[in-house]
């Protein structure tokens, strides 16, 4: 079961890219299911949560119906402060669809979350010169309020 999140009919002020270097809101389309919905519900309130298996304590991302370690299904949602290190990244300089051309370049980065057994979150690294992006760079979370009820994680140098 999956559902496209509701599209806004009125763009409230305050929505949109927090910094340059992120895709425009109208190309961001989130699809959710029962496993992932709590992540996005929390994100809408600027809370980063990671599911942890209640049976064995293993974190998993993205959220999924089974623990890859012990196969149990129940999770608890643990809030994370979103501070971590850049695990890897790329600087996207070419628009594969025209909609993103004016917003380039993006520094898409993979951030490993300390204390989660290696769980990673993917988002744009903002507020940084792309030439300064480095693996191992300390980063902190910043939210991109895409539209009412939809926020996605980005990162900036900590």
């Amino acid at each position: 079961m999956s559902a496209e999140r509701e599209e806004p009919t009125v763009r409230a002020s305050g929505f949109g890219p927090p910094y340059p270097g992120v895709p425009p809101a109208d190309v961001i389309r989130l699809t959710t299911n029962a496993s992932t919905q709590p992540f996005w519900d929390a994100a809408a309130h600027h809370r980063l949560v990671v599911p942890r298996c209640t049976a064995c304590g293993t974190f998993r991302m993205p959220p999924s119906p089974f623990c890859w370690h012990c196969r149990a299904q129940d999770v608890e949602w643990v809030e994370h402060d979103g501070r971590g290190e850049v695990y890897s990244f790329t600087v996207i300089r070419h628009a594969v669809i025209p909609d993103v051309r004016d917003a380039l370049p993006f520094v898409a980065c993979v951030v490993e979350l300390p204390g989660t057994g290696g769980c990673r979150v993917i988002g744009d690294l903002v507020d940084v010169d792309p030439a300064d992006a480095r693996i191992g760079m300390a980063v902190e979370l910043v939210w991109y309020d895409v539209r009412a009820g939809t926020s996605v994680p980005c990162f900036r140098p900590a």
């Binding site: 999956s2 496209e4 992120v22 895709p23 190309v27 961001i28 389309r29 989130l30 699809t31 959710t32 299911n33 496993s35 992932t36 996005w40 991302m61 993205p62 890859w68 695990y87 890897s88 990244f89 790329t90 600087v91 996207i92 300089r93 070419h94 594969v96 669809i97 025209p98 909609d99 993103v100 917003a103 993006f106 898409a108 980065c109 993979v110 290696g118 769980c119 990673r120 979150v121 993917i122 988002g123 744009d124 792309p130 693996i135 191992g136 991109y144 895409v146 996605v152």
Partner: protein, 405 residues
């Protein structure tokens, strides 16, 4: 060749062979119109059967990959007397070499006698480069359906496979000191092979100046680290070793084939959660071990390697995963000229690969392996007896095929 272990009771080893190869011309993206992709497939299948000295009356199986096509309509068009096997490896381009293993399994299992593996591609209305872009957007006509898992990546603007593999390449550079010069060596050596071939879309040599002067697409990858976008079809015919001995060409014996991967390689570049120990890999390590075991060969036995080259750094990581050099050592390995033809210790992609001949999702690599073993390749590796073919890096499955004379 020295078997690395006793032949298990259940094995594909040396029981089938690739006996025919065929292809359409290769076109730049969209230039094969008004032909349809299925017509291209039919043309390649007929060419491959003819090459083998077989006909449609002999054909009874199809083994596809990467979502394939409708074999019912092709069988109807060609008048195949009886289809006895039609199946497909799951996933995407990672199944190319594995589709030949699937054909071999069908033959060894007695389900069919003459099985064709085929890929047809026409990127006219759409481009794989936007595979993960939002559907309905201009340029994204070929995009995968949105998924709850994709929602964890798509907002970052990562929309194409090359951008995603760039993330692996960046970390490989960080961990091992791999450089853009090493990527360039893959692109330039592959181009050098392509320019000698009539079939290649890229017929001009690639210079270091052109490589380093090219625009960056997704750092650290530039234009020439990306494969081509093409139209065309390639088919290869597999049958039993007994029947193969009576056909037109010396058989390219299927020593082994494997497809799959470690479970937590999983969706690979579309989740980025792979365990740290093999994040900067091609995802091929388990498949490499298994195909070598099945075929009874070791890396030193391989005379020519046809490695799936959608993005140049992934050739480096396959050189590591297939044991031609140590993990992290592929940069210096290629810098020493080892993958060059002629003269390199391990000539790689002697046909010009996905990067410079044509991108038919890896099936050109199988065709080249067969021609190398027949001794008829344009860039012939002298005395080639063992060829390795790979499919992927991709989500599971990635795949491999060992052919020998």
């Amino acid at each position: 060749m020295t078997p690395t272990r006793a032949l298990p009771e259940r094995t594909l080893r040396d029981r089938t062979a690739v006996v025919g190869v065929g292809a359409t011309p290769y076109w730049r993206r969209g230039e094969s119109l008004p032909r349809t992709p299925l017509e291209l497939a039919g043309t390649a299948v007929l060419a491959a059967l003819d090459d083998a000295g077989l006909g449609v009356d002999d054909l009874d199986g199809f083994a596809l990959y990467s979502m394939g096509f409708d074999t019912s309509l092709l069988a109807q068009w060609l008048g195949v007397p009886e289809v006895r096997f039609t199946a497909m490896t799951t996933g995407g381009g990672g199944g190319s070499a594995g589709s030949v293993g699937l054909a071999a399994a069908a033959v060894v299992g007695g389900m069919a006698d003459v099985v064709v593996s085929v890929m047809t591609l026409q990127q006219s209305a759409s481009r794989f480069g936007a595979s993960f872009a939002p559907r309905g957007k201009a340029g994204a006509a070929y995009s995968a359906p949105p998924s709850p898992e994709g929602a964890f990546i798509q907002p970052s603007g990562l929309m194409g496979p090359g951008q995603m593999f760039a993330v692996l390449a960046q970390r490989h550079m960080h961990l091992y000191g791999t450089t853009r010069e090493h990527f360039a060596e893959v692109a330039i050596s592959t181009r050098a092979n392509a320019v000698r071939r009539e079939t290649s879309l890229m017929r001009e040599p690639l210079t270091p100046g052109e490589y380093f002067g090219a625009r960056m697409i997704a750092d650290p990858l530039c234009l020439y680290d990306f494969c081509l976008e093409c139209d065309g079809a390639v088919a290869v015919v597999t049958t039993s070793i007994e029947r193969a001995r009576d056909l037109r060409h010396p058989p390219a014996v299927i020593g082994g084939s494997a497809h799959g991967g470690a479970g937590r390689w999983g969706q690979a570049i579309t989740w980025f959660g792979m365990p740290d120990e093999y994040f900067t890999s091609s995802g091929h390590r388990t498949v490499a071990r298994r195909v070598y075991e099945m075929a009874g060969v070791v890396p030193a036995d391989v005379d020519v390697a046809l490695l799936y080259d959608h993005f140049s750094p992934m050739v480096l990581m396959q050189l590591e995963d297939y044991g031609f050099c140590g993990v992290g050592e592929s940069g210096p390995f290629v810098a020493e000229g080892n993958i060059r033809w002629p003269g390199g210790r391990l000539p790689v992609n002697t046909h010009g690969g996905n990067l410079s001949e044509a991108y038919i999702i890896g099936m050109t690599h199988v065709k080249e392996a067969v021609e190398q073993l027949r001794g008829t390749a344009v860039n012939q590796v002298e005395g080639a007896r063992v060829a390795l073919v790979t499919g992927g890096p991709a989500s599971i499955p990635v795949s491999a095929l060992v052919l020998h004379r």
